[in-house]
Symmetry: C2
Subunit: 397 residues, 2 copies
């Protein structure tokens, strides 16, 4: 945990030492979340080029802005784990760490001579999290995984996209990020046990991107497992609630979601169609679900009489849940996002000023600061390395 | 923490007591994750009908299978928080809990007389997590939120769907589930602090669905904030990597992802087009990205010579990351999913046998059991309530 020289706690994981062998996205996303919760993260990179993400566009001041976003606040040390001198440093860091995280393909750590047993021998209380495409077990464990491959295999693509069309990849790398999110939860939970009982054994955590996508299939999976339905892309419609979709007004689309009869009644009144609430086709959720296309056509007939902006104002005032379809620019400039501190700045000599997403974790008693420290240059922590014996780095900034 | 009568620990949160006021999806998803990590979850429901999710189809043996999935293993107690006698029971449970979670609209708990200060007066060490659509602060805090509304407002829909088309809602309720996932991480992290320092103050955690979607925008957001780009739906393509897309073979589509020049070389050789690696258009990632449509047409010309299954076998053997586009049925029956224990069963008198998704958390030293206890009937824990003074429930099963 933290010593007298430590900076003030940023969050509830203050003083937790994370030794981070991860690269690209799933792993760095995990350790970014843990950093935002207050942990120290020491990123171990290959000498030379370091994390591949350093080369991913776009760039600002010669630095990858996506690398800068994912690695803000972390320290960096370059080690070649095939070299004896560097292995001694790494062993020492393992001894001093609370958590080790890696997202190599399964077998890589073993080939380097760092099987689970070896790591737990170095540090019997270590929490060792392994993030991989398919997990450390099973017939597919050795196969290469990219976000697209996992989204395709998991069934996720088969339920995403416009109704009647082929499924498409989700527009974000949810295959990587969900695995990173679940790993951050499991690591935090294992740290609860560690703090409650310092004599608890070390833990090896095995998080798979495929497992993570599978559990996120939600209703689609539940419906298959219980009823044998094989869901297909349904556009913006909810599989069980009507109306819950995107509808066209005179000049563009709006989203409307009525989760119960009361909200549907408000919608019917606001659209000037109060009789819908006593219409046998639409009066109940079951009826609306069965006549979904008919209801959609009638809603769009009503909406055609005015602009999206006018309808949003009218429906919103009536208490109907509705929304414009924002672009990324719209939301990035939105007053709610500003009020929540969700855009923060990184400032350093190379990047200049860079805006990045802030923290989703708002926790009382900890500052939600408007700035973040920059991501590290490769090997910048070299001079701060404590030489031997449960070693770690001392912070210079 | 657990007493002598407790069952064996299911995970690192064994003995942690979660008092759960949540309904429907975001909150119950959060507490399901915490249950899978070993915590005890006592679900407080409104007398009469309880959680709305109990009424959501499909049903098996008269029970909602989605409710059964999300609430497995939890206990249920029906309390009317406007009644004095029930409030006394609730106050007592707050005193005995480690964590309280709610996902009402902001202001609801305050209207019930349970402002943050009141809850922390009852239990000064309480970890109190609040999940809402837009957060407890900001101009939009009081607006109603559904998954669709948050996906529309957050920009998430604007980057999801086929290239050239309008954005569509993601095929899963990621607006709800991501908030639940981030809340489970924040709660676990706050518990780390609590276990490390029993005198640490209570914490109020404020997780918003909109914030959660915003931080998941990933590259789309980074590109806007750094370069002013406003991303649009890109189909299955990766925004920065080529080839990384779905391609048509003779009888159907396959996914191919080549994240570097080496993998592209393997693909070129396996397709019988070795000259691509020295072709100025395709030799570098930058070149491939600039000529993406041309390269896609050439890849599909090559793939047209054989079936998807034949190409998957050939490309897979060559080490090219590739995959079929699985349906939900395909993945639910997949040997890797079976080997990972990702489908488990719930068995009880009403449901009979129900298959549900298992746990994404594989942690050494804890059993990854093939069964789960059922979700509770409304108020089933009533008889096990400990009457007074930091009360909780004693477990009967």
């Amino acid at each position: 945990m933290s010593d007298a020289a430590s900076p003030p706690p940023r969050g509830p994981l203050a003083g937790v030492r994370i030794l981070d062998l991860t690269r690209v996205l799933a792993g760095p996303y995990c350790t970014m979340l843990l950093w935002e919760l207050g942990a120290e993260v020491l990123k171990i990179e290959a000498p030379g080029l370091g994390d591949d993400m350093r080369t991913f566009p776009p760039f600002q001041g010669g630095e990858s802005v996506f690398f800068a976003t994912l690695n803000r606040g972390k320290r960096s040390l370059a080690l070649d784990l095939t070299r004896e001198a560097d292995r001694a440093v790494f062993d020492d860091l393992v001894t001093g760490a609370d958590v080790l995280v890696e997202n190599f393909r399964p077998g890589t750590m073993e080939k380097l001579g760092y099987a689970n047993e070896r790591l737990l021998a170095l540090n019997p209380g270590l929490i060792y999290a392994r993030i991989s495409g398919f997990g450390q077990t099973g017939p597919m464990r050795d196969l290469p995984a990219y976000d697209l491959i996992v989204q395709a295999l998991s069934g996720m693509m088969s339920i995403n996209g416009p109704e009647g069309g082929a499924g498409v990849r989700m527009g974000i790398s949810i295959g990587d990020m969900a695995a990173g999110m679940f790993a951050s939860t499991a690591i935090s939970a294992a740290l609860v046990e560690r703090k409650a009982n310092p004599a608890a054994p070390g833990r090896v955590i095995d998080i798979a991107m495929l497992d993570s996508q599978f559990v996120l299939l939600e209703q689609a999976l539940v419906r298959y497992l219980a009823a044998g339905d094989v869901p297909k892309p349904a556009g913006s419609r909810h599989p069980m609630i009507t109306p819950f979709d995107v509808f066209n007004a005179k000049d563009g689309p709006i989203a409307i979601a009525c989760g119960n009869d009361r909200l549907f009644g408000l919608l019917a009144a606001a659209l000037g169609r109060p009789s819908w609430t006593t219409d046998a086709r639409f009066a109940t959720m079951f009826g609306r679900f069965a006549t979904e296309k008919e209801l959609k056509a009638e809603i769009e007939t009503a909406l055609a009489g005015d602009t999206a902006a006018a309808w949003l104002a009218r429906l919103g005032a009536a208490g109907v849940p509705c929304a414009p379809i924002h672009t990324v620019a719209d939301i990035a400039e939105d007053p709610q996002i500003a009020a929540r501190g969700m855009v923060v700045t990184i400032e350093d000599d190379e990047l200049g000023v860079l805006k990045v997403p802030g923290s989703v974790f708002k926790i009382s008693g900890y500052p939600d600061t408007p700035t973040r420290p920059p991501a590290p240059n490769l090997d910048e922590a070299r001079g701060d390395l404590t030489p031997t014996g449960g070693g770690w780095i001392t912070r210079k900034r």
